[in-house]
């Protein structure tokens, strides 16, 4: 079966600085895959490369066998890949409902239509209601996204990411800045909304990672030093030395 996401020898340099030094990774369909690594390893950069925010310096990135490196973010999104952001990236003055609805419109095929009333689009409304229920923000639907609490905004961030029905979801530190209890909620949310999809997640919280991931890849200085099941990663000597040993939970 073709992997959902396939990176072959991807490199990225910013000027003289080589941030990603040859990453090869295959993520099978339906797998929940976590990327961990010390600060500065290049995890967010990797996400930015996959989602099209930056271009790669060399190598190839394939989404279900289609080459996506070099495409604009919206082209990649239309092919079924969606990502969230570590620093919340929502539409601040639009309501929660509007935020979600904007994320479903393209996937429902409405494109740039300026001749149909958006409030009459039943499928858009139903899909948006469904997403808001799932992320637990239905009660806040009319509130401006900018006035939500931090945890609510993180939930909205995830909601916008999954609303379009993408098959491959990239979550960039979804639990960043959350308290213990908020994190527990968020973990349950992530598990629920990524059922049947392929998930690639960057996280620092080891508890979260071991709880969600089917497989873990460890990124150190722009290279993957190990890629295996959580159990084997925990026992891997090189990983312990590079990462877990410094920040054991």
């Amino acid at each position: 079966m073709t992997p959902a996401l396939s990176l072959q020898n991807v490199t990225k340099s910013f000027g003289q600085m080589e941030i990603i030094r040859g990453v090869t990774l295959d993520v099978p369909q339906g797998e929940r895959h976590a990327v961990i690594g010390p600060n500065g390893a290049g995890k967010s950069t990797l996400f930015n490369l996959i989602s099209g925010r930056f271009g790669i310096s060399s190598g190839s990135i394939k989404l279900e066998d289609q080459e996506i490196s070099g495409l604009r973010p919206y082209e990649i999104n239309r092919r079924g890949l969606s990502r969230s952001f570590q620093v919340t990236n929502i539409f601040p003055r639009l309501s929660v409902y509007e935020n979600i609805r904007c994320a479903v419109l393209w996937s429902l095929g409405y494109k740039y239509s300026f001749w149909r009333g958006v409030n009459g689009l039943v499928d858009a409304r139903e899909r948006s209601e469904d997403i808001m229920e799932r992320i637990g923000l239905a009660a806040r639907r009319r509130d401006q996204a900018g006035v939500l609490t931090y945890a609510e905004q993180r939930a909205l961030e995830i909601g916008i990411t999954i609303a379009g029905g993408a098959r491959v979801i990239l979550l960039d530190e979804p639990m960043a800045g959350m308290s213990r209890s908020e994190t527990e909620h968020a973990v349950a949310l992530v598990r629920k909304v990524t059922e049947g999809k392929t998930l690639l997640m960057v996280e620092h919280d080891m508890g979260v990672v071991f709880g969600i991931a089917d497989r873990i890849s460890v990124l150190v200085y722009g290279k993957i030093i190990a890629s295996d099941t959580p159990q084997r990663i925990r026992e891997n000597a090189a990983v312990k030395e590079a990462y877990l040993g410094q920040a054991a939970h």
Binding site: R72, R101, C102, Y112, G117, G164
Partner: protein, 417 residues
Amino acid sequence: MSALGKIAPWIILAILLAVAPFLFTSGTSRTMLSIMALSIIFALSYNMLLGQTGLLSFGHAVYYGLGGFVAIHAMNTIIRNKYAIPLPVIPLIGGAAGLFFGIVFGSVSTRRAGTVFSMISLGLGELVASSALILRTFFGGEEGITTNRSRLAPFLGYKFGPQIEVYYLIACWCFICILLMYAITRTPFGRMCNAVRENPERAEFVGYSARMVRFIAFSLSGLFAGIAGGLAALNFEIMNTQSIGAAQSGLVLLMTFVGGAATFIGPIIGAILITFLQITLSDITGAWLLYFGLLFIIVVMYSPGGIVGWLALHEPIYRVGQLGRLVPAYAINAIPLIVMIIGGILLIELAEWALVKAESDGPETSIFRIPMSTNSVLPWIAGVVLFFGGALALRRTWPLVQDAWGAALARLREQPA
């Protein structure tokens, strides 16, 4: 919202448009109403860019002006060849021209956003305005192009000679355009315009090309600006380089911004107010342009949401019944504010008379219907005292407003969500 609630504003709008010329019956009033109506279309088209999509353009008059010039040439061609095209269709021709140029120039302009887009719009505006003096056959040089609207084929028996008939034609187009532009805000495209305004990057990551959204918005706003230009062509029966230049672009920016770019109705209010001021002030004082500039700066500094934006701030307060708390504070502050404004106007009018008119017309003038002389020190002192006195008093009384707002907001937060 019930069905009646949705239709009611439109019925009210239609009634207002229909009844206005009977409330204000003088010839100048009817001309002013006509200009207001077409300015509303122009300002709303501008807000498709500014308020809806976050694009600040300094060259929007290009589409208005080009629409008008194409329309006026069309009118003359129709007259010359006696085609059976009636006058009400002319704005459509202006609109088509506005759309065409919106697409052509938009393909270049919308490559960049933000500040650079604004600079590009300025450059393009200058390019077209300067070309107008070179391409004399199309733009008519300094005199412009004239026409006679009543020489077109009659429409339902009307030749549209009298201003009242032209007013109703413009008012119909105004109603249609307001309706269309409002409808567009409620489409998937309209929603994505707002999304691109809020966070263009995120819009890209949910599948939309920010550039394409901006391009379509630009083209559509050109369409409606062109319609306004066509209406101007048939209203004034003349088009010249004024309509296409930086001053006209600045004017529509002023209207939209002072009215309030953040709401749909803001530009409508702005267009009405600024048109009114422009026509009445220019008769009263020679410094009216200066007043416009100062008004603009004051709005930017103290209420960037414009008039409607400022009013909208009070909506949540009104909902929890706390408006009564604010009214006395506003009333008390209004006094020093008015004193300050009177002092300022006095000084500006005195200066304007002394510098510009006194040489030819002598130092005697009358301000606020009070005769005074620019040579005597008294009016100057009065102006200074009023202005600075008012300002100082305002500084004292302003905390009242702040306190009232604080209390009202506290009460707002106490309300259950």
